[in-house]
Amino acid sequence: MARESSMKRKRAVSNFFGYVALIIITIIWLFPFVGLVLGSFRSYDAAVEYGGIVDYVIPKHFSLDNYRFVLGGETNYLRWYGNTVIIAFFVALFQMIIILCVSYALSRMRFAGRTALMRFWFVLGMFPGFLTMICLYFLLKEMGLTQAGAIKGLILVSVASSGMGYYVCKGYFDTIPKALDEAARIDGASRARVFFEMILPISKPIIIYAALVAFMAPWNDYIFASYIAFGHDASYNVAVSMYRWMNTGDYQGYFTRFCAGGVLVAIPVTLLFMFLQKYYVEGVTGGAVKG
C-alpha cells in the first residue's frame, strides 16, 4: 500500500512539473501573437502614442487608427490583399490538379522512363530555387507577365513546376490497394474512369492537404513576388508590400500598421488552417514516414 501511494505521489509531482513546463511553453509560443494583436491597437498618431518599435506590449491608449489606415484608401492594402487571395486560390487549385495527375501516373502506371523521370526530378530538386530567378524573370518578361502582369506570372511559375512535389500524394496513392484498380479494369473501366470515379473520391484527405499547403505558401512569398512585381505597386502581394513597413528606413513608425495588416492576413489563413488541421497532420505524418 505504502509503495502504491508513493508511486501516486511521484506521478502527481511529475505531472505538476509537466503542467508547469507546458504552461511556460504555451506562453512563449503564443507571446508573439498576443503582442502582434495588442500592437495593432496602438495608435501611430504622434499626439497619442508612437507607432514604431517600443519596449512595452500593452498599448497605453486603445485605438483603431492602424486598421483605419490599412483599410482606408491611403494605401493599396486592399488591392495587395486581393492579389494575394487570387494568387493563393489559383495556385492551390492548379497545383492540386497537377499533383494529383502526376501522383496517379507515377503510383499506378508503369511506363518506360518512369524511374528515370522520378530520379531526374529528384536531382533537379537539389538545385536551390532562387538560382533560376533571373532566368525566370526574363522568360516571364518575354511573355509580358512581369510588373503589371505579375500576378498571372506568379501563378504560372508556382504552378508550372509543382509536378515535382508529388511525394506525399504519391505515397498516399501507394497505400490504396492495387486490387481495386484491377477489379475495375477487368470490368472494363478505363484508366481515366478508375482515376476519376474510384481513386479521387477516396483521396479527399490528401487532396485537402495538397490544396491547403499550396494555398498557404503564396502568403509568405516575398522573394520571387518582389522580383517579378518590382516597382509596380498595384501588383504587390501582402508580403512584399508590408515587408517595407518593417525594414525600410523611410517607414519608421509603421510598426503598428504592420501589426494591423499582419493580423488581417493571419486571421483567415489561421482559421482555415485550424479548420483543416486534421488533414494537415495526416499529410505531415504520412509524408515523414515515407520520406
Partner: protein, 464 residues
C-alpha cells in the same frame, strides 16, 4: 563498396547496350522496311498516314513541321550565335540606340533550340520504331488500331502520357531550362558590367570557379568557406535540436495524466498556421535593440545596455537557432505525436515490468523507433535547412554586414541567401550561378553519402 562499383559498371554497360540497340533498330528498320517506312525517315509520320493511322502520323508530321518553322523563323538565329554569345555591341548613333546582339536571349533561346533538336531526335526515333512495329503487325496479319482507338487509349493504356504531358512540359520550361541556363552563366562573365541588352557577355571557362576558390584579397575563397561552414552547422543545429525538442514536447503532451492535450497542441500549431512573414518579422523586432526583450531586461535592471541580438555575428547566429526552435517544434510535435502512438504499448509494459527507468525506455525503445521511422525525414529536413531562406532572410536579412567578407555576405548568410543578395544587390549573376552549383554539389554529396546509412533503407525489416 565493391558491390556498389559493380552495380555502377553494370548500369554503365546496360546504358551502352541500350544505345547500341537504338542504332541497331534504326539500321535494321531502314534495311528491312518497305518504302513507306523509308520515306518516314525523312518525313515523319508518312508511313503511319499511308497505312491509315491519321491521328498518330499527323502528330508526328505536326511535330516536324513545328520544328522546321521554329528553327527557321526563331531558333536558328540564336543557335548560330551560341558559340560567341553575340559580337555586335549595342551603340548610339545620333542619339538613337542601335540594338546589337542580346547575349542573354542568345543563350536562353539557343539552349531552347538545342533542347528542341533533342526532342525532335527522340520523336524521330519513336517514329521509326512505330513504323517497324506496324510492319510487324501487318506481316502477322493483324489489324492496326485506328485513329479513334489511338485517341481513346490516351485515357486508358496511355493515360500516363495525358496526365504527365502538362506537368513535364511545365517542369521543363520553368525548371530545367532555367537551371541549364544558369549552369551556363557560371561559365560566362555575366555581371553588373556586362548587362544585357546594352552590353555583351561571353564565355570565360572556369574563371569564376577559380575566383570562388581564390584566397587572395578580392577572391571569394575565405568568405565561401566561412559561409559554407555556417550553412552546414546551421542545418545540423536546426534539424537536430528541433527534432529532439519536438519529440520531447510531443511525449510531454502524450504523457499519461496530462489533460487538455488538444489545447496544448493547438497553441503550438498557431506557429504553423500564421504566415511566417507576419510572425517572423514580429519576432525579429522583439529582439531589436529597442524591442520588447531588451527593453524589459533593462527596466528590470538585469542589463545596462541593449544586447546586440542581431548586430553581433555570433549572437545573431545563436538567436536564429533559438528562434528556429520556436518555428520547428510544432512541426516535429505534430509528426512525432502520430508516430509515437504507433509504438506497440506492450514494449513499454514489458520494459517497465523488467524495471526499466523512463530514461532507459526512451533511450532503448522510443529513440531507436523514431530514428528508424524518420530517417528519410531527417535527411530531407537537413537538406531543406541548408536552403532555409525564409527564416534567415526574415529575421536578419543575412546580416550583420561584415567588412571581412567578399561579395556582400553577412554574418548569418547561408549560401542561398548569399546567392540571393548577389543576384539582387550586386547583380553579380556569374558568381550567383557558381554558388548555386556549389549548393547543388553539397546537397547531392550529402544525399549520396547519407542515403546508404539510413537504417530504414539498409534494413527494411529492421524494426518488426
Amino acid at each position: 563498396m565493391s558491390n556498389a562499383s559493380e552495380k555502377k559498371s553494370n548500369s554503365v554497360s546496360t546504358f551502352f547496350s541500350a544505345v547500341g540497340n537504338i542504332f541497331k533498330v534504326i539500321g535494321t528498320t531502314f534495311v528491312n522496311g518497305d518504302w513507306k517506312t523509308k520515306i518516314s525517315y525523312l518525313i515523319m509520320g508518312f508511313g503511319q498516314i499511308a497505312r491509315g493511322q491519321f491521328l498518330r502520323g499527323g502528330a508526328f508530321l505536326a511535330i516536324e513541321a513545328l520544328f522546321i518553322w521554329f528553327v527557321s523563323t526563331f531558333g536558328g538565329k540564336y543557335l548560330s550565335k551560341l558559340g560567341t554569345l553575340g559580337t555586335i555591341e549595342t551603340y548610339k548613333k545620333n542619339r538613337k540606340t542601335v540594338y546589337g546582339d542580346n547575349s542573354f536571349l542568345i543563350l536562353l533561346f539557343g539552349l531552347l533550340t538545342l533542347f528542341f533538336i533533342l526532342f525532335l531526335v527522340i520523336c524521330w526515333y519513336l517514329n521509326i520504331k512505330d513504323n517497324a512495329k506496324e510492319e510487324e503487325l501487318i506481316k502477322a496479319g493483324k489489324k492496326l488500331p485506328g485513329s479513334k482507338a489511338d485517341f481513346l487509349s490516351l485515357f486508358d493504356n496511355n493515360f500516363d502520357k495525358t496526365l504527365l504531358a502538362l506537368p513535364v512540359t511545365g517542369v521543363f520550361i520553368f525548371t530545367v531550362l532555367p537551371i541549364v541556363f544558369m549552369i551556363c552563366v557560371a561559365f560566362t562573365n555575366y555581371d553588373a558590367t556586362h548587362q544585357a541588352p546594352s552590353k555583351l557577355f561571353t564565355w570565360v571557362g572556369f574563371a569564376n570557379f577559380k575566383n570562388l576558390f581564390s584566397f587572395a584579397s578580392g577572391g571569394f575563397g575565405s568568405t565561401f568557406v566561412s559561409v559554407l561552414i555556417w550553412t552546414l552547422v546551421w542545418a545540423l543545429l536546426a534539424t537536430f535540436i528541433d527534432y529532439f525538442l519536438g519529440i520531447a514536447v510531443a511525449m510531454l503532451i502524450n504523457k499519461k495524466g496530462i489533460r487538455f492535450k488538444k489545447f496544448w497542441r493547438t497553441c503550438l500549431v498557431m506557429t504553423i498556421a500564421v504566415p511566417q512573414f507576419v510572425s517572423l518579422l514580429y519576432v525579429s523586432k522583439m529582439f531589436d535593440n529597442a524591442g520588447i526583450i531588451n527593453g524589459t531586461l533593462m527596466k528590470l535592471g538585469i542589463i545596462q545596455s541593449a544586447i546586440p541580438f542581431w548586430t553581433n555575428p555570433t549572437l545573431a547566429k545563436i538567436t536564429i537557432v533559438v528562434v528556429n526552435i520556436w518555428i520547428g517544434i510544432p512541426y516535429l510535435m505534430l509528426m512525432a505525436t502520430g508516430l509515437l502512438m504507433n509504438i506497440p504499448a506492450d514494449l513499454y509494459e514489458s520494459a517497465s515490468i523488467d524495471g526499466a527507468t523512463p530514461w532507459q525506455m526512451f533511450r532503448h525503445i522510443t529513440m531507436p523507433y523514431m530514428l528508424f521511422v524518420t530517417g528519410p525525414y531527417l535527411l530531407s529536413s537537413y537538406t531543406g535547412n541548408l536552403n532555409n531562406f525564409n527564416v534567415i532572410y526574415l529575421l536578419t536579412g543575412g546580416g550583420p554586414k561584415s567588412m571581412s567578407y567578399a561579395g556582400g555576405a553577412g554574418g548569418t548568410d547561408l549560401l542561398v541567401t548569399w546567392l540571393y543578395k548577389m543576384t539582387i544587390n550586386d547583380t553579380d549573376y556569374k558568381m550567383a550561378a557558381v554558388i548555386g552549383i556549389m549548393v547543388f554539389i553539397v546537397t547531392a554529396l550529402i544525399f549520396m553519402n547519407a542515403y546508404n546509412f539510413l537504417p530504414s533503407i539498409k534494413d527494411e525489416e529492421g524494426f518488426q
